[in-house]
């Protein structure tokens, strides 16, 4: 049975991705801060799809534990997906280092730490797919969320470099920029309906793009053009905007 590892498996997007792979009969390794909290999802996937599912404790910010975490996985997964992230509170992070650090570590440092380990394993094995869920927020820093955005920017650059390196070893790396997604993380924000994707749609798009070995994926096609515009606004003008 092919298998998938999902890091940060408790989020709405991760659940949708897990269900999509389970319906294709992939076995799943689900990891989150509390593996215990994933048990209902584990039962659900096993009953609905008759696949094997294991749950694991994984803390993105506990870097020292990552090697041991990866060692104890039952099998080396064919696909590893990094879904975890933390939006945090921009205003708080401006003055509170703990919040800023948590945002950076959850979205960037933690991801680099675990993906470095996974990459080495895949190189030894000679195959594998790595998928990272980054964010359009990383395309340009904006006053409303640049701590999160800068961490995601770092993550996007990391994934692009990793893709470049691993391409030569036969390993595929895909970055995903989902744009706005209707999830628990965003339920209290007023998101524009036309630009907002459902987690199930993100999952379907991720699977399809991974099958086609795409390098990058914008879940709603509009985003590609919106970001093209946002990236190209001259800095002199951009700084005057309140974005």
């Amino acid at each position: 049975m092919p298998s998938v590892l999902i890091l940060g498996a408790g989020s709405d997007m991760a659940v949708a991705i897990a269900r999509a792979y389970a319906s294709r009969k992939y076995d799943l390794q689900l990891a989150a801060r509390s593996g215990q909290a994933l048990i209902p999802l584990q039962q659900d996937l096993q009953i609905r799809h008759s696949v094997n599912v294991t749950v694991h404790d994984f803390d993105a910010t506990a870097f020292n534990s990552h090697a041991a975490f990866y060692e104890q996985l039952p099998v080396i997964p064919d696909i590893s997906i990094c879904v975890f992230g933390y939006l945090g509170d921009q205003e708080k992070a401006e003055t509170n280092w703990l919040e800023a650090e948590r945002i950076i570590n959850s979205n960037y440092t933690g991801a680099v730490s675990i993906l470095n380990i996974i990459a080495e394993r895949y190189i030894t094995k000679g195959s594998g797919t790595i998928i990272g869920i980054s964010s359009v927020a990383g395309e340009r820093g904006r006053m409303s969320n640049y701590i999160y955005g800068s961490a995601k920017a770092g993550f996007s650059a990391y994934l692009s470099g990793l893709r470049n390196r691993l391409f030569h070893k036969g390993i595929h790396v895909m970055s995903v920029q989902p744009g706005f997604v209707n999830t628990q993380m965003t339920q209290h924000l007023a998101l524009p309906p036309l630009l907002t994707a459902q987690p199930e749609a993100v999952a379907a798009a991720v699977l399809k793009a991974a099958d086609k070995k795409k390098n990058t994926l914008f879940v709603k096609w509009h985003w590609k053009y919106i970001m093209l515009i946002i990236r190209n606004i001259p800095e002199g003008m951009f700084k005057k905007l309140k974005l």
């Binding site: 709405d12 209902p40 039962q43 659900d44 009953i47 628990q184 339920q187 209290h188």
Partner: protein
């Protein structure tokens, strides 16, 4: 974020703050730190029961926790829909013990309305099949209740319209089936008397219901089609069906994409619809074996058919009258046909005996009718309420959007007892809906 919410009848609509959870710990926290909450399933009740200032969407609380395929026991979180459950149950030879006329409802909604199906006279309501369940009450604690554990909470939650708290987990028994098909018989009835006689004659059938044409006068007053059915055995299937007796029906979906102008649904169109429906059956009796979907869920084939009633929305009027007062049916149908305010759907069912604290069913006949919202409608329905009261009947809370407070308190014999239990678990009015305010259920 504020969202515009309305249930199946599109009346009433309100702005509500919606939150959703996937972890019990977060949900418990939310409940114990907020007020004016109401749980919401898939919004398939017709009126205002799951509308409130803050709604807790249960749709993501949708994990299947265990499925005992030997004994036929299902345990799941409350936000799982019947649709999802059938996909898992049917191929393994099991079926829902009770199902309403749509499969797009959640298990939490099934419990909170204590739903009934076409088999009420044989199998009772949903509450009769619950082994145990968990409810997060107003104190923010999770209480496990069942017919022999925290029984007051159990009975006040079944049919309690979300007012005792948030149902998070339900364990219930299933019905064994050998095939995914129904052997059905459809019989034309000349008039109301005829259909009631037929109901008696066919009462040994597990499933039964009738479509009534409520606009006909004179001899054909109350003409109908009675539909009865049984889960088919493998021997009853034709060669093609027998090849895979437990396969799921193919999912086909038609949808009404927008609200139709309301003038499309006037008396004339209802008359034409009913004429076509009645006359599509040429023979007096038709016997056939059909997949379970068209039998149980004829309307689900057209997603969003509710939009056919236009922007103003519609209300469903469902009442039950005690068995000895079936003459009340005549009185009510007469009022409707005199008024000429027919309904596409007039569904008649028979209920068996049921002890209940606050659930709708009681032994007798139940009729459900749709009325588009228009001037004068609520006054007219108030008049019908008087007749229902006079005959000792009551209205289904899950369909209600407009009943007056007195009507509820007069017609539900255990209303006081129910309100007292609600008060105990929902002390500082954490759970309230437009309906509970209107009917003063948490006073």
């Amino acid at each position: 974020m504020q969202k515009r919410l309305a249930n199946w009848g599109n009346y009433p609509a309100i702005a509500s703050e919606e939150s959703s959870f996937t972890q019990e710990e977060q949900l418990r926290n939310f409940v114990s730190t907020n007020h004016e909450l109401i749980a919401r399933g898939n919004g398939r009740c017709y009126g205002d029961a799951s509308l409130g200032k803050h709604s807790i969407s249960m749709l993501k609380y949708d994990k299947i926790l265990s499925f005992d395929t030997e004994k036929g026991i299902m345990e799941c979180q409350a936000g799982v829909t019947l649709d999802q459950l059938l996909d898992i149950l049917v191929p393994k030879g099991w079926f829902l013990p009770i199902t309403p006329g749509t499969k797009f409802i959640t298990i939490g909604g099934a419990v909170a309305s204590d739903v009934h199906g076409k088999n009420h006279h044989v199998d009772g309501a949903f509450s009769n099949h619950i082994i145990d369940m968990d409810v997060i009450t107003g104190t923010g604690e999770t209480i496990t209740c069942s017919p022999n554990q925290h029984t007051d909470l159990f009975w006040a939650t079944c049919g309690g319209m979300g007012l005792t708290g948030v149902i998070t987990r339900v364990k219930f028994d299933l019905k064994k089936i050998e095939t995914a098909y129904i052997r059905q018989t459809q019989i034309k009835a000349k008039n109301l008397e005829d259909v009631i006689r037929l109901f008696e004659e066919y009462k040994h059938y597990t499933y039964s219901m009738a479509w009534i044409d409520c606009l006909k006068q004179g001899d054909s007053f109350g003409r109908s089609i009675l539909i009865v059915g049984e889960h088919a055995t493998p021997e009853e299937l034709n060669a093609k069906q027998a090849k895979a007796p437990l396969t799921l029906p193919v999912k086909r979906k038609l949808t009404v994409p927008f609200n139709l102008p309301s003038f499309i649904l006037n008396t004339l169109t209802v008359k034409i619809f009913n004429w076509l429906y009645y006359n599509k059956n040429l023979k007096r009796e038709i016997n056939n074996v059909v997949p379970y979907e068209p039998f149980f869920y004829p309307l689900d084939a057209i997603l969003h058919w509710n939009r056919g009633y236009g922007k103003a929305g519609f209300v469903q009027y469902q009442f039950v009258l005690p068995l000895e007062h079936k003459d009340g049916l005549v009185a009510i149908l007469k009022r409707i046909s005199d008024k000429g305010w027919g309904s596409f759907l007039a569904v008649l069912k028979v209920f068996g005996n049921q002890e209940s604290l606050i659930s709708f069913p009681m032994e007798g006949y139940t009729l459900a009718l749709d009325f588009p919202v228009r001037k004068g409608l609520f006054e007219f329905l108030d008049e019908l309420d008087e007749i229902v009261l006079q005959y000792g009947g009551r209205l289904y809370l899950s369909k209600d959007a407009r009943m007056k407070q007195e009507v509820f308190w007069k017609s539900y014999p255990n209303a006081e007892k129910f309100a007292a239990i609600v008060k105990q678990y929902n002390n500082d009015k954490r759970f309230t809906s437009l309906q509970s305010e209107r009917l003063q259920l948490t006073r």
